[in-house]
Every structure is written in C-alpha cells, then in structure tokens.
C-alpha cells in the first residue's frame, strides 16, 4: 500500500517518490511524517496523532532547494533539505543521516521543480484536467475593444502586427489613431524601445480621452529626435481635442536620464511641444525584489514583534505601493478630466502595465467585476507582454536570476489595497486574488506562462494547457464578494497615504497560525447566516403562495 494513498491527485499527475522524514515546522516544532513528490506537487502529512499538519505545495512554487548539513553534521535534525518558496515561506525537512537518505528526494524535487532546466515540459502541458468552462474564451480582444466603443471615427483596429512583425512582444490586434497609417506605425516603431509603439489601452466613453501605453523613446546620449514619433503623439492629442498631451514616465527622473546612456530616454520639451512630461518616481524591478526580500525577513517565520511598524516601514514595500497607486491616481484623474495620456517606463511591460491596469480599474467599473478583472489581466498583462516567465522564473533553477521581480504581486497588492478601501466596489473577494497569485507560480495552468503572446503561440499554450479561468469560472461562488454593489458611474480614487495602506496579512503572513487572519471572513459568516435565514423565509413564502394558490383552486372549484 502506498503512503498517503488517500490524497487525490490531478488528472495527469503522477507520483514519483515518497519518504519518511521530519518537517521542521517553525510554528509547531519538529513533526514526523510522510512526504510524497509528484510531477506537480510536494505533499506532506504529519503522523503525530494529536493534530495533523499537512503541506500541499505545487513544485512550481519552489524557487530554490538546498541541502542542509552533511553526513557528519552533529545535532538533532541537522541533516536535510531547505526549500525556498516563491510564496513567502521556507520549508525545512530533516532526514536520517545514514545512507544518503536525502539524495534521491533532492534529485527528484530538483528535477520536477525545475523542468525547463532539465529539458522537461512544465506540468501545465501534462495536466489532463477538464472543466465545464473553457477559460481561454474569457478574453477576446475584439469584443473588449467593441465594449469600449472601438473602433470609431478617431481610432482604428490595426492588424499590422498579426504576424508579430512590427513588435514581437505585442499582441496581434492593436488600436491606433485613425489618422496614423501603417507606414507611420513602422516608422514610430524604430524610435521606441523594442518597437513597443504607443497603442490604445482604454478610451473614456464620454470625453474620448485615452490611455496609451508604450516604451521609452530611443533618444540616446545625442538627444535624437524622430519627426514621426512626434507627429504620432500629436495625432493622439488631437483625437479628442486635448490641448496638451500628458506623458507619464513611470520612472524617477534620474533613472530616465540615465537611460539615455543605453540609448533610451524620455520625451524632451522642445521635441514634443504639445506634451507635458511627468515622472512618477516608481523604482525598477531590482528595488522591488529587494524590498520584498526584506519584507519576508520580518514576517517569516516569525513576525517582528516589538518594532513591527518601524520594521515594516524599513522594507519600503508599502511605500512602493503608495507610489504605484499614486501614479495610477494621477493617470485616472487626468483621463477623467478629459485629457489623453501616454504611459511608459523603460520597456513598457512592468511599471507601465501596473499603471495602465490600475488606472483602468479606477475608471471603469467593468474591470471591477469578476469577468472584467480577468479580461484586464489578459489584456494589459498577458496580452501586452509582461514577462511572466522572466519575472517569475517558471520551471527554471536560476533562483538568483536578476530578471526575477514581484511586479505582478505588487500590482495585485495594489488591487487588494483598493478592495480594502472600497469593500463593496469589487465583485471578487480576497480569496480570488490569492488564488490568482498561487497559480501565478504553480505551473498548473497555462495562463501566466511565457513572456508574450508570440512565444505562447509557438508553444501552442491555448491548445495544450488549461486556463486558470477554467478552474475559477467553474466554481465562482467561493470567489465572490458578498458585499459587492454594482455601481457603474463613479471613478474610484483610493487614498494613497500610508495612513490607509496596510500590509496584506492574509497573503504575506498566511502561513503563520499565530497571526490573526480574518476580518471579512467573520462578517461573511454572519452574512451567510443571514442569507440562510433569508432563503429559509423565501422558501416558506413560496410554499405559502403555493398553498394559497391551491386553496384558491379548491375555492373556485366549489
């Protein structure tokens, strides 16, 4: 009989190896138990009878696995494995020192956690899961643009990138100014980093102001200019009669200047006369990565007790959140007052995605719905080439890769901050956001795999893997916010002040059972109780109606 035979596996999941070992739980001490590894997960269950502790960790979560101690190490439980996860925890297992007991376990985890480094496919390609709904149908670019009222007399759909010839990291369908010809677009592409030209992300229904996204202009040390790019931005400005186009450069001013050295830069005043440039002072991916590392230090395994607030401040994590939110507020404010904006950072796939999607979330209540949010992620993040593969490092063993950065996590954190400030404005709940983050790493679904659409197409992701939205949309009720109140007309401006920003305890400290996790769940309980009573009443009511009708029938017969 297999160990832990009762654990249900996913279709396509196969067990590789199992073992008796000790889980060095930071909260409950050393726990004897059994572990098994599949091509998808690591599963542990303690054998202590009193209270069972289980771990169910997708191997995709693992960023690093190391051997602790050697065959000759002294001390209890000093020989084992240390696994660093991408979801804010470390797992430590101790094994018997005799006979290289950890060697095969280490080997198998290493192989299946980092399949791409071993020439193996990611689990998403092996999964045989079936769901009622096909999540790949959630986002259809044409439908979304039509919803926004596009194309119209000022904006057209361009298929210039249908073979990814204009820009290999952009999607195939782009919305560009009606007045700009395909030739214009090609010329503008020569002046924008990685050919990521300004394209439309969102248009305001009433005032026709737009949010455009792109990468930095290739100004360089010599301060090059490009007439086509200048004219193109002016066409954008003209489209709704804005007198001045606002360009939001997400970076701090100094960084934008420094970028000139590598050929990049920003839109100079003299070249773009009808535009104003605003720097939003958001730092780069490396700063964010280090900030999250510091945050992990103060929350795992133990939460800093005595100086919690000042240690939290010293990580700067919330301060970065404040900057991102405050940038998005400025974008949303500009657009809602009728001015078109262009948003870019260096390449237009990290900070730019954060800013455009957050400001769209503020401006358009559709994106705050359950489906609308999925569309937002598909469009602004997945479609426009946020480099998920590089930032997350799916199936890749290089844990120290400088390209990794929690940009998407930071965005979801910003969304969470908004849901905290507007508890009735979002159709989805916190559990939904956490589920999205869990599967950002899990490699069970194809949704967040690879860097851009063209690569995804090469690997035939849509045909060979399942979408995360298939899972989520097949059992929606657990992801719904019971307080949601549909309200369409208002722009939501969160307050980007440290007074209101708080650490997302339910995510960052969720592994610690000593920390309080609830707030809303408690209220939900009460609410669901009330709803039960309500539905109970309804039942009785309809039953009474039936009886009444029946009686009436009898009466009429008489």
């Amino acid at each position: 009989m297999e160990l832990l035979a009762d654990v249900a596996l996913l279709p396509g999941e196969e067990r590789i190896i199992d073992k008796d070992l000790i889980y060095m739980c930071p909260f409950n001490g050393a726990l004897k138990g059994k572990v098994f590894i599949t091509n998808y997960r690591l599963y542990f269950r303690s054998t202590d009878t009193e209270s069972t502790v289980t771990l169910d960790v997708p191997l995709g979560n693992i960023s690093r696995i190391e051997k602790m101690g050697g065959a000759s190490s002294r001390g209890e439980n000093s020989y084992g494995l240390d696994i660093t996860c991408k979801d804010m925890r470390n797992l430590r297992f101790a094994l018997k020192q005799e006979g290289h007991s950890r060697r095969d376990l280490f080997g198998e985890i290493f192989k299946y956690a980092f399949p791409l480094s071993h020439g193996q496919p990611l689990f998403a390609f092996l999964s045989q899961e079936k769901f009622e709904e096909n999540g790949w149908n959630v986002y259809k670019p044409m439908d979304e643009y039509r919803r926004q009222g596009l194309p119209n007399e000022r904006w057209r759909i361009s298929f210039i990138n249908s073979n990814y010839e204009l820009c290999d990291t952009y999607p195939t369908i782009l919305v560009v100014p009606f007045k700009a010809t395909e030739e214009d677009l090609r010329r503008v592409a020569t002046f924008r980093s990685r050919c990521r030209i300004p394209v439309l992300s969102w248009i305001h229904r009433d005032n026709q102001a737009v949010i455009m996204r792109c990468s930095q202009p290739l100004v360089g040390m010599s301060g090059k200019r490009n007439k086509d790019d200048e004219r193109y931005l002016d066409i954008i400005r003209e489209a709704n009669g804005t007198t001045k186009l606002t360009i939001y450069d997400a970076r701090p001013n100094v960084n934008a200047v420094a970028n000139k050295a590598t050929g990049g830069g920003y839109e100079g005043d003299d070249a773009y006369q009808n535009a104003e440039l605003v720097f939003l002072d958001i730092h780069n991916i490396h700063v964010m990565r280090e900030s999250l590392k510091k945050l992990k230090d103060i929350v795992y395994p133990n939460v800093e007790e005595s100086h919690w607030l000042s240690s939290l401040e010293s990580t700067h994590w919330l301060e970065h959140i404040k900057l991102v939110l405050s940038g998005a507020i400025q974008v949303a404010d500009k657009v809602s007052s009728g001015n078109s904006v262009v948003v870019h950072c260096s390449d237009g796939w990290d900070r730019t995605a954060q800013l455009t999607s957050l400001s769209m979330l503020m401006l358009d209540s559709y994106f705050r719905t359950f489906r609308g949010f999925q569309v937002l992620l598909e469009k602004e993040w997945i479609g426009f080439g946020h480099k998920f593969a590089s930032r997350i490092g799916h199936g890749d063993k290089n844990h120290a890769d400088q390209d990794r950065s929690p940009i998407f996590l930071q965005f979801i954190d910003c969304v969470w901050q908004m849901t905290k400030q507007f508890p009735t404005a979002f159709e989805f709940n916190e559990h939904f956001l956490i589920t999205v983050l869990d599967h950002l790493y899990s490699c069970r679904f194809g949704t967040f795999l690879y860097n851009c659409e063209s690569v995804r197409e090469n690997y035939n992701v849509r045909a060979k893997t399942v979408s995360l939205w298939s899972l989520i949309n097949s059992s929606t009720s657990i992801y719904m916010n019971p307080f949601y109140t549909a309200e369409s007309s208002h722009v939501l401006y969160p307050v980007a002040s440290m007074r209101h920003l708080e650490l997302w305890v339910n995510y960052y400290i969720r592994w610690n059972p000593r920390i309080r996790h609830q707030i809303l769940s408690q209220n939900c309980e009460i609410l669901s109780q009330n709803c039960e009573i309500l539905s109970h009443n309804c039942e009785k009511l309809s039953h009474n109606y039936e009886t009444l009708g029946h009686n009436c029938g009898i009466l009429s017969c008489i």
């Binding site: 701090p252 100094v254 990049g264 700063v287 405050s326 260096s346 401006y493 007074r499 309080r516 009460i526």
Partner: protein, 745 residues
C-alpha cells in the same frame, strides 16, 4: 487641479492671501446688523463675539475660508457662518448640544497664535501680548480650527482672542463648569428611562453579585463616606474581612470585589499600602486581606501589581501627547510630509505599545481566572487608574453581558464612575496648572482604545459599534454630563448636594452621558449599534433549535476549564508559602508574579485558538504587530486628505442595512400571508435597518462624522514622495533588463 506642489515640485507652506480688504467685504455684503449666535442651550450665556472672522476650510488645499461671527460663551467657542447653511446637506449625525463649528470649552486642547507667519502656543502668561493675526485651535476630539482675526475691528479681535484664551486655558473652579448652569435651567422632561445600571445603590451591587454568582459581602459602612472618600458609597469585599480591619487603613489594601467567574474564583482590586514598618502591623493586615480573598473562594490567590508591569500614568500622558500630534494637522503640506515616516512616527510615540501591554496584562489575568481558576488581586497605588482599565477589560473578555450596549455602560459605571476614577484630574477639566499633583492622563481613553481593538477584531461579539466608542470618547469633554466631572463618588455627591442647595438656584438635573437623547436623536443613535452583532440565543433557536444551555456564559476552554478545582489542602500550602514570602521580602518584590507571562499565555492562547470562535464565550485579543491597529475613525475623521469617497467601512454597513431591509420585507410578506410562526421562533435580527441615507451612496469614510462637509471629488495626490525613498544603492540606478542591451536602430 492637483494638490499643492503636485508633480514633485517644492511646495512652500501655504498661507492665506486675501485679495479683498475687509471694507470691500463690508460694502459687498453688509449683512443686516443682527445678533448672530448659535441656538443657545439652557443656561448658556454669550461672553463676547467678533465679526467678520474668516474661518479657513480644511476641506481643500486652496486655503479658502468662510466669513462669519466668532463667539465665546460659558459653554463653547462657536463660529456662526454668514452663509446660510444649505438645508439639504444630509446631517445624519447631528449633535444636539454642539455643531461642527462649535467647540465646547473643555474640548479645547491647545490654542496657537500665528504672529508674522510663526506659530506660537498660547499659554495663560502670554495673554498680555498683542493678539495674533490667526488663531489655531486644536481640540481634544482632534478637530483643528483656524480663525483669521485680521478682518475684524482691532478692539473686537483683541476681546475675542483674550476671551477665548481666558475661558479655555485659565484654571477655573469646579462650580464654574457649564454643567451646573445647564442642569439648573434644563427642563427635566428630557430624562428618559435609564436602563443602565448606575451602581449608586446597594441593590445594584447586590444584583451584580447575584448575576455573577459572587459570594462576598456588601459594605454599607461608607454610605456617608466616613470610611474613605476614595471608595464608592457601596462596595463588595470578601466576607471574612472583619469590621476592625475594614476601618484600619481608610480602605487602603482592601480587596474590592470586581467580578466573579463561573468557577467561583473572583477578581479583586486594591490600592497599595505604604511600605511596611518594622512592627509588622501592615504585613499582618495584608496577610489577613490575602487570606480573606483566597479563603472566601476556596482557591489560591494571585497578586498582580500593575504599577510594576505597566507604564505609569505619566508615561501614558506623555505618550498620548506625542501620539495625538500626528492627527492635529494644520495643512496639506504637513500631512504629506508626515506621511513619509508615518509608521515609525506612530510607533515611536509608544501609544500602540501601551495599548498592547494593557491587553496583554488583561489576558494574563483572564488566564488565571479561566484556566487556573485562581482568585486574582490587581493592585496599584490608588487602585483607580490601571486597575480600572485591566479589570474592565478582563470582564469584557470573559463576560458577554459587558459586550452589550447597556452592559458596557454598566461596566463603566461600576469600575470607573462608582469606582472613583479621578476623571476631573485625569482629564484636567479645570485646566489646573499644577501638573505635579494632578497628573492629567488619558486613562479612560486608553481603556476605550483597548475596547476598540477588541471590537475591530471580534466585531460580531459586540452590540455597540466603533461610532459609539468614538462618540463616548468625545463626550468626556462635553461639560454637560455628570458622568465624567468628578474625582470620586464622594465628590460627586457632595458637590451636587452643595450646588442644589444654592439659594438662587433650583434643583440640579445633571444628565448622565448614557442619556444619549441629550446629544442625538433616535435615528443617529441607531449608528451606535453594530448591525453584525450576533445575538446568539435567538439565532440558535431559529437555525438549529437546540436547547439552550443552562448558563448564559459558556466555558470556552473545555480541557482546562472543566478541570476540578484544586483541593483545599493545595491552595492552603500556596497561601502559606505566600505568607512566608511576605515576611522576607519587601512588598514591591513579592507582588510581582514570578513566571514569565509571554511564554505562559501562549499555551492558553493556542488552546483558545483551536476552538471554534464563540462570540458569546471567552474573547481574547490578538496582539501581534499587524493585529493591533490604529483607531482610524477617531483619529482620521477630520483630515480631508484621508477621506475615501464612496468607500470605507460605511460602504459595508450600507450594504448590510440593505440586506436587513430585504429580510424584513420578506418577513412582513410572510406575516401578511398568515404564515403562523410562533412568535418566539421568529428571527429577531437585532438591529433595525440603519438610518443611512441610501440614496446618497457616496459617503466618505469619515461617516458619520464631518458629514456636512463637502469633500472634494478630486483625488488627493500625494506630494513629497521621493525624498523618503533615499535609495542610494546600485539597484536603484540599475537597468531593468540587465541581460539585454537596447538595440539602437
């Protein structure tokens, strides 16, 4: 339109620049010369007034203002706007005693004068100096007012400034407090049925002891305050205390009963005795007291000297003085500058830590009662400061009765008002300068803070809302109620008696703060109730129809709580050893509990955590860093920069109200259809649908406070962002893509 210095530009301190002269205003408006004053309360008299005065509006960054009349009465500082107020502005939560532009004199915290752009704090001594161009008033309820005095006549300006400064800052006598003028002139019909137990009669105490199944003796010997002026008129002590001992040290060291646990052990509090003399009289007295407390209940006794483990009254005062400064914001620039180091600033005041320590101490006491079933005696110098905080908190955690509105009010009466907390001195209502002997300190506020932590962590367990707590904390500084006006039961009784016998006056009719109709109408009072309060007994009936357990209060820790109490011989030993210690060590030493608290309570905590949460059972606070939070409603409600328009907790409350209406409509339908449910079986959802204006969906997060203000619909954009993030390391200047080089086309 961005806020000041938007886009990272350096912003100078905003200062008001007027482009019109006072003459222009006069000629422009020329209001009909009529006396402008607020609707005066009974007994209220205007001292002085001045106009036109410009009141700066905090609501927006432009430093604009409105003109009006500034008055000082014997009750308040009042600003009456020249503009006729829009009747349409929904006033959900109007205080009947004072409006949003009124400041009760007792509520004034500090007055600053602006002289040539420099802000100086006004103290009594500075009154001779010339009046400032601008007067800034910081209130104890954290409002900030700025009045510009330069438009009015010099004479009027000087008068109003001196008048306000004098009546707010100068020491005064208790007799001059507005409550006494008000109480005389007030018509008595306003008194409504009081359901709050006041603990001013023997019956109230007897009833309380019966309710908790206590087994002690009610002392009536203090009816004329002959025993002590620092003790309640009636109180309860262990039965075996002899009459001789009762009078020995003016009640000092007496174990005063607070509350009995269902296991039979009880919570006592006591003031400390002077350091023992050689003759051993005090030691022997103390031994007898400890014996009495222990033996009455057949359990052992633990002693907790709060002055050893908790911050002092002065520490608490100093910490709060620093803490509140972060909420008294004069302008937007200051707000955003202070936003940068917000977390560490708050932490450095130590206020949150004091809250945590009090809650932690209460948990330790709860553990003794609930898990170890020992009697507890908490001690402190006077026994009326931190003893009140801890004993009240313990009772709230253990006894669901105190989580109801009237139960809570009864608790405040029992432990604080009847229990002789020195409100008058601690709140410094009379502006006494002699800080040494008075020691003002926000002890009661500290208690409310701790309760708020419990409320926000376990909201369904409480019948009252955070709004209720906020209003209660404000009411301390409204000099109309007798509740917070005295240092002791003795002082209350003697003062009220003396004032009532005043020949020129009629009988006094001084309301208690619990008579909420004095301040708010019924609709507003509904906001005191928590719509999510889980009224357990009734719901159980409906959902499961399980037979109700016999005892209302339930055991929450079965494993330990069902443990049979230790046998008689055992605790005797413990008391014996305690006595031995008494003889050897100085009082201050042996009173400290020997074991480390943190490690001990952890086990207790985890046992509690493992059980499903019972809102009507034991309630423990979470004390980890993220769990102890800032009381946002109280501290941030007046600051325009932090208002979330259309969001905040009120959004959820609104939704809840909507759902409740739905439920009730359905129930009505059921009733109409003649669905014959036995009355008792029907769902009694406690709260009525809240009186929220459901058509005006865009309430701000400050709701229900500052509701008449028109918050700007424009977003507030933070300024002074970058100087905080002084990232000097390489990372900040690094390129995003290190591995690739941008291809130059």
């Amino acid at each position: 339109m961005l806020s000041l210095g938007g886009g990272g530009a350096k912003s100078s301190k905003p200062s008001f620049v007027s482009y019109i002269t006072p003459e222009e205003i006069k000629s422009e408006k020329e209001p009909p010369k009529k006396e402008r004053h607020p609707n005066l309360l009974p007994g209220e008299v205007v001292f002085c007034s001045a106009d036109p005065i410009l009141k700066h509006t905090q609501d927006d960054v432009s430093q604009r203002g409105i003109f009006g009349t500034l008055l000082c009465t014997n009750f308040r500082v009042s600003f009456v706007s020249d503009e006729t107020p829009l009747e349409e502005t929904a006033q959900h939560f109007k205080n009947k005693l004072y409006g949003e532009n009124d400041i009760p004199l007792m509520c004034v915290d500090h007055i600053y004068g602006v002289y040539d752009e420099k802000r100086k704090m006004i103290t009594g001594g500075m009154l001779k100096n010339k009046y400032p161009s601008k007067m800034i008033i910081h209130c104890k309820d954290l409002r900030v007012f700025q009045f510009c005095l330069t438009f009015t006549k010099e004479e009027d300006a000087r008068k109003i400034f001196h008048g306000i400064a004098h009546h707010c800052l100068e020491p005064k006598s208790l007799k001059c407090v507005f409550a006494f003028s008000y109480a005389v002139s007030r018509s008595p019909e306003m008194q409504r049925s009081q359901r709050t137990v006041m603990f001013d009669s023997k019956e109230d105490w007897a009833q309380e002891m019966k309710r908790t199944k206590g087994n002690c003796r009610i002392v009536t010997e203090n009816e004329g305050f002959k025993l002590s002026t620092r003790l309640p008129k009636y109180f309860i002590i262990p039965s075996s205390v002899t009459d001789e001992d009762l009078f020995k040290f003016q009640g000092k060291g007496l174990p005063i009963w607070c509350w009995s646990h269902h296991s039979g052990c009880a919570l006592f509090k006591a003031s400390t005795l002077p350091v023992p003399q050689e003759d051993g009289v005090i030691q022997r007295y103390m031994e007898r007291m400890l014996d009495a407390a222990a033996q009455t209940h057949l359990y052992s006794l633990k002693i907790e000297d709060l002055s050893e483990t908790l911050p002092t009254v002065q520490d608490i005062q100093q910490s709060y003085a620093k803490f509140k400064q972060f909420f008294l914001i004069d302008n937007s620039t200051d707000f955003w500058v202070s936003d940068v180091k917000w977390f560490s600033s708050v932490e450095n005041t130590g206020w949150m830590d004091i809250i945590r320590k009090c809650l932690q101490k209460a948990v330790e006491v709860v553990e003794c009662l609930e898990k170890e079933n020992t009697n507890i005696l908490i001690m402190e110098e006077e026994g009326t400061d931190l003893c009140c905080v801890i004993s009240s908190l313990v009772q709230i955690m253990l006894d669901p009765h105190y989580r109801t509105l009237t139960g809570f009010q009864g608790l405040v009466q029992k432990e604080w008002v009847a229990g002789c907390h020195a409100f008058l001195d601690r709140c410094n209502h009379l502006c006494q300068k002699d800080k040494e002997c008075q020691s003002p300190s926000p002890i009661f506020l500290l208690f409310l803070e701790c309760v708020w932590q419990l409320v926000q962590q376990h909201s369904p367990a409480f019948q009252f809302s955070e709004t209720y707590l906020t209003v209660l904390s404000d009411s301390v500084h409204v000099p109309v109620f007798s509740t917070f006006l005295f240092n002791s039961a003795y002082q209350r009784e003697s003062t009220l008696k003396a004032e009532s016998q005043h020949p020129q006056r009629g009988p006094l009719n001084c309301p208690a703060v619990w008579d909420w109709s004095v301040q708010f109408d019924c609709k507003a009072q509904e906001l005191f109730l928590n719509p999510l309060y889980a009224d357990k007994l009734k719901q159980d009936k409906v959902l499961r129809k399980v037979p109700r357990p016999k005892h209302q209060r339930q055991l929450s820790l079965p494993s330990s709580a069902f443990k049979t109490p230790p046998k008689k011989g055992f605790f005797k030993d413990e008391t014996e050893s305690l006595k031995k210690m008494l003889r050897v060590k100085r009082i201050s030493r042996w009173m400290a509990s020997p074991d480390s608290p943190a490690a001990n309570t952890r086990e207790f905590y985890e046992a509690w955590q493992r059980r499903p949460l019972d809102h009507h059972g034991l309630l423990l606070p979470w004390l980890d860093g993220p769990a102890v939070r800032l009381w946002m409603q109280r501290y941030l409600r007046w600051i325009p920069e932090v208002q979330i328009l259309g969001g905040g907790p009120v959004a959820v409350t609104n939704k809840m109200a909507e759902l409740l209406v739905q439920v009730q409509e359905l129930r009505k339908k059921l009733d109409l259809k003649g669905c014959l449910q036995p009355e008792a079986e029907r769902v009694q959802l406690q709260p009525r649908p809240l009186a929220l204006a459901r058509n005006s969906l865009r309430l701000s997060s400050a709701f229900p406070f500052a509701s008449s203000r028109n918050w700007t619909f424009k977003p507030v954009i933070p300024t002074s962002l970058l100087q905080s993030l002084m990232l000097t390391d390489k990372l900040a200047s690094q390129e995003d893509e290190t591995t690739e080089v941008i291809s130059l086309v």
